[in-house]
């Protein structure tokens, strides 16, 4: 019975169509078959009925639906035959919404019982209604992510989750047990390929205070890494992306850290040639400032005709210590109000000038 429209399927298609369009000859054939099946005498085949389309979907509904149906032939999708009413009319107010939209889906006007309008209104009009509204279909909707639906997701995912270890309840403990932080980024995009070359970058972060370094090793390490060390936070950051795979970049980063650590503990022969320009911070001992201060003091003492005072005594004196501290503060920390005033006081005391 190919000519007869198959079993009616209302489900699935929203605004479900129950009609079947067939050519006139097939309509006549089906009409004859149906009437033979149901036993009623066939209505006149020509005339008005000649232009009728095929019978309704199920044989049981055939006789009623067939009568008085005048349809136009041709490829216009204009059907005045009643379609099934939208599902929204049969929806209870307290229904389970997560079964209407269990997953992300396009907007279906016959499934969403809201009187939504969307679009730019025509002049002196209103925005177009939701039926056949392409704008509502275009936009992503979150009808599948209502709070009760998310609760259900969380309940389902709970079985796959493990508790955070109770021993790691503060940031300091985490840092103490896991001093090295590895940062990697995963990229999600739409398309048939999951590859993204940016995903191979690995960033390693470690605080130098967590590493076992003495003074010389720390200074040497800082000199070796250069830009990668941040003075304020005491964090060394190593970013690797020279290998094609993330695992390889991670291994390379760990290898770099290991090599830096071991190299900074070694002392090469040429390190003894470290000069004043290579120093990281200002050291007052054996500097020009110390020499100048001692010279000045000795000359003051000589002009006062005091017997030769030992240099160590001078160095250990209070005024010289003050001067030393103020000069170190100025050089290392930069010029600030307090630094400059401290320097002024110490120079006055050194030269014994009372303002």
């Amino acid at each position: 019975m190919a000519a007869r429209a198959g079993p009616c399927c209302r489900a699935g298609l929203s605004g479900g169509a129950l009609l079947s369009r067939a050519l006139l000859s097939r309509a006549l054939l089906s009409r004859a078959l149906l009437s033979r099946a149901s036993g009623t005498p066939a209505p006149p085949l020509w005339g008005r009925a000649a232009f009728s389309s095929a019978a309704a979907v199920s044989g049981r509904e055939g006789p009623q639906a067939r009568e008085g149906s005048v349809r136009r032939r041709g490829w216009t999708p204009q059907f005045a035959r009643s379609a099934a009413p939208p599902r929204t009319e049969r929806m209870a107010v307290d229904q389970d919404w997560s079964s209407v939209y269990p997953t992300a889906a396009a907007f279906k006007p016959a499934s969403v019982p809201l009187p939504i309008r969307m679009g730019y209104p025509v002049k002196r009009g209103v925005p177009p209604p939701k039926e056949g509204n392409l704008e509502l279909i275009k936009i992503p909707n979150f009808l599948h992510l209502t709070p009760p639906a998310i609760k259900k997701h969380c309940a389902a995912l709970k079985d796959f989750c493990t508790e955070w270890p109770s021993a790691l309840d503060s940031d300091e403990k985490c840092e103490q047990h896991f001093p090295i932080e590895i940062e990697t980024v995963d990229y999600v995009s739409s398309g048939t390929s999951i590859r993204n070359p940016k995903a191979r970058v690995v960033t390693l972060r470690v605080k130098l205070s967590n590493l076992n370094l003495d003074d010389h090793a720390k200074k040497k390490l800082i000199k070796l890494v250069g830009e990668r060390y941040c003075q304020e936070t005491d964090v060394l950051t190593i970013t690797t992306d020279r290998c094609p795979l993330r695992r390889q970049n991670y291994d390379y980063g760990m290898h770099l850290l290991t090599v830096l650590y071991h190299e900074s503990w070694k002392t090469e022969k040429w390190e003894s040639e470290k000069s004043e320009e290579d120093m990281e911070e200002y050291i007052w001992e054996n500097s020009r400032s110390q020499k100048n201060a001692l010279d000045t003091l000795l000359r003051i003492k000589a002009s006062e005709n005091v017997s030769n005072v030992a240099e160590e005594e001078l160095l250990a004196s209070e005024v010289v210590k003050n001067y030393r501290n103020s000069v170190i503060a100025l050089k290392n920390k930069g010029e600030t109000e307090s630094n400059m005033s401290q320097y002024k006081e110490s120079v006055k005391k050194l030269l014994n000038i009372q303002a």
């Binding site: 429209a5 198959g6 079993p7 009616c8 399927c9 699935g12 298609l13 929203s14 605004g15 479900g16 169509a17 129950l18 009609l19 079947s20 369009r21 979907v57 490829w75 999708p77 204009q78 059907f79 379609a83 992300a104 889906a105 396009a106 279906k108 006007p109 016959a110 679009g119 730019y120 025509v122 177009p128 039926e131 056949g132 509204n133 392409l134 704008e135 279909i137 275009k138 936009i139 992503p140 999600v188 995009s189 739409s190 398309g191 048939t192 390929s193 999951i194 993204n196 940016k198």
Partner: protein, 163 residues
């Protein structure tokens, strides 16, 4: 038009007559944009919301028909997605001839390709389901990714305006 006029001026003049040269006359009217615009007529042409709005309304009054990450800054694959979109629209036009009430909306969610189409009610449901399965299977095999067709039927094309 202007470029053609400039080109013609460079042509050698005719040998005997010194003033034999062809000129082109261009007017500003010919430079009107015609892309994706339905010109106003007598008032009997029904147009959908999509057809009634010109491309400069995209982002203001119209949304996008194809959503994917390829056009974002720093993302790859824009050209491939555009090619896939072009093929998909032709394929749909051929699979549902005369049935498409409006442009198909293509959405990509990771690997999944969702095609949302508005169809008329000319075909019985079982035929529509066959075409749905056919399209999903064939497109899934072509593009090696899951393809989902979400079809809706409307009684007729929804007119927004009459131009």
């Amino acid at each position: 038009m202007a470029a053609a006029a400039r080109g013609l001026r460079g042509l050698p003049r005719a040998l005997s007559v010194p003033s034999a040269a062809r000129q082109l006359h261009c007017s500003a009217v010919c430079l009107k944009a015609r892309a994706a615009r339905v010109r106003a007529g007598k008032g009997d042409k029904a147009v959908t919301y999509e057809q009634a709005h010109a491309p400069h309304h995209i982002g203001h009054r119209k949304g996008w028909l194809s959503l994917h990450t390829g056009n974002l800054r720093g993302e790859a694959g824009a050209a491939q997605r555009a090619l896939e979109d072009a093929f998909l629209r032709r394929f749909l036009a051929g699979t549902f001839p005369g049935l498409l009430a409006d442009e198909a909306v293509l959405k990509r969610r990771g690997n999944l390709l969702v095609v949302c189409a508005l169809l008329g009610r000319a075909l019985p449901p079982h035929k529509l389901y066959f075409l749905l399965g056919y399209a999903e299977t064939l497109l899934g095999t072509f593009y090696k990714c899951p393809v989902r067709l979400e079809l809706q039927t409307v009684p007729a094309r929804v007119p927004y305006k009459y131009l």
